[in-house]
């Protein structure tokens, strides 16, 4: 065995692939990708959670597939190949959910199909998997999927709590008795613009805590 070529599975470099997208290189708040789906499915927490998991699955598996095939994919049709891989995986996820997690698939309905249009996935295939080995690509997929998912969950938590007064459909506000003091749910939180504003607040908080994210003029 050649020690030079063997890199530990979780080397510092690989770990960085995993943790980078969670913070400093977050696909939503730093690269501002995948915003469209972040607006659509963050009204309630549960669909957001399932969407996050589905995206993590699709992005990491498609990264592995593309990374393993990267030497055989003709450059001229690479985008088509990437799309075919993503679309296939998304349809498979959809079919499996319908067969084995019917309740969840009902909740997500059309949004599963929308994973295909998620720019983060194609971005990672094009930028990372086409030039790296399967294992780092897998980790990169996990990291970016999780980075996307964590923002989704944060946004959905606030929108569901403030907009519908529930957390995972548990009537939290009602139990604290806030309604009797005149508190009302903010219907605006349910509408898509508020998702954008919540994402904006997250970006603001993140940038004010990490000055290195602020671009030099």
């Amino acid at each position: 065995m050649d020690k030079q070529e063997k890199e530990p599975l979780f080397s510092a470099k690989n770990l960085k692939l995993l943790t980078g997208p969670l913070g400093k290189n977050n696909p939503i708040t730093v690269q501002v990708l995948g915003i469209c789906s972040a607006l659509a499915i963050t009204v309630k927490l549960k669909p957001a959670l399932v969407m996050a998991l589905s995206v993590i699955a699709v992005i990491s598996i498609s990264n592995v597939v593309i990374a393993s095939l990267r030497k055989y994919i003709p450059e001229r049709i690479r985008i088509i190949v990437q799309l075919v891989v993503i679309a296939t995986l998304v349809i498979l996820v959809d079919q499996f959910l319908k067969a084995f997690a019917f309740e969840v698939s009902k909740q997500l309905s059309v949004f599963v199909g929308l994973i295909i249009t998620n720019c983060i996935i194609m971005g990672r295939l094009e930028a990372f998997a086409m030039a790296n080995k399967p294992w780092p690509s897998f980790i990169d997929g996990l990291g970016n999927g999780a980075g996307y998912g964590i923002i989704l969950v944060i946004v959905a938590f606030f929108r569901e709590l403030l907009g519908s007064g529930t957390v995972l459909d548990y009537p939290l506000v009602q139990i604290t008795g806030a309604y009797s003091t005149g508190y009302e749910n903010n219907g605006m939180m349910i509408l898509p613009p508020m998702a954008l504003i919540v994402v904006g607040i997250i970006i603001w908080v993140q940038r004010s805590r990490d000055k290195s994210l602020i671009e030099n003029k």
Binding site: I41, V43, K44, P47, K71, Y72, I73, P74, E75, R76, I77, I80, V81, V84, T88, I91, L92, Q95, F96, K98, A99, F100, F102, E103, K106, S109, V110, E160, G163, S164, G187, I190, L191
Partner: protein, 233 residues
């Protein structure tokens, strides 16, 4: 990056397409029985819910055979049509036929406290896609005993609220007929007045879904008019 010949690109894409097509059709074929089973359980669960019986996925089939007595199909004139499986009737396909040829399924059932009720399926359009549900009527064939609604992809938190028990609960005790004339149940923006037996509150922010639901109830239940009048004592 290596340069690939045109021939290679053609072969590569053909192989890819065939491989993907095989994989997907295999998955669709293998998973279909499980998916159809899910749909059947779901349908039975919704029908039970419309007569106020909460079923889980595991006991829906048992409860269905206990509470739902029989299903039959009637036509727009209220005549029973023999030899059609009411459970298998797909309402969406029926609605494409001319009114006189449509199969209208009716299910008789008994509620948990032993009352005789009938269950009528309804299907219509929401904002983003189909909405459907079941309406159960008490033995006077006028008073709503319970309803259940569902949807394919209405907006969560807005139109999707039609399948919450808060919304469905408002339909209990509402009446379809006023002095023998069919008037259905309307949704009212800003809330129905107290004591209005033909109205419920619309969903704020879900106006198009609410209106779609109102049209669905009127269009679907109106077809049962003859049947309901004929069988009313």
């Amino acid at each position: 990056m290596k340069h690939f010949s045109n021939r290679y690109i053609f072969v590569f894409s053909s192989v890819m397409v065939i491989a993907v097509a095989t994989l997907l059709s295999l998955a669709a074929t293998l998973l279909r029985p499980a998916q159809e089973k899910n749909l059947e359980i779901e349908k039975k669960r919704s029908m039970l819910e419309s007569i106020r019986i909460t079923a889980t996925r595991s006991n829906a089939v048992d409860l269905y055979s206990r509470y739902i007595k029989e299903g039959f199909v009637t036509d727009i004139h209220g005549n029973t049509i023999d030899g059609v499986d009411a459970f298998g009737v797909v309402l969406k396909n029926e609605q494409r036929k001319p009114a006189g040829e449509q199969y209208l399924p009716v299910f008789t059932a008994s509620s948990e406290d032993g009352k005789d009720v009938i269950i009528l399926p309804v299907e219509g359009k929401g904002l983003w896609g189909p909405i459907w549900g079941y309406v159960s009527l008490e033995s006077d064939l006028n008073t709503i005993f319970g309803v259940t609604f569902d949807h394919k992809g209405e907006t969560p938190g807005l139109g999707a609220e039609i399948n919450t028990s808060d919304f469905e609960g408002m339909f209990r005790g509402k009446k379809l007929f006023d002095n023998g004339d069919f008037v259905s149940v309307m949704v009212h923006k800003g809330g129905a007045e107290d004591g209005d037996v033909h109205g419920v509150d619309a969903i704020s922010g879900g106006t198009i879904t609410s209106n779609g639901l109102q049209n669905m109830l009127r269009d679907c239940l109106e077809k049962y008019n003859a049947y309901l009048i004929k069988n009313r004592n």
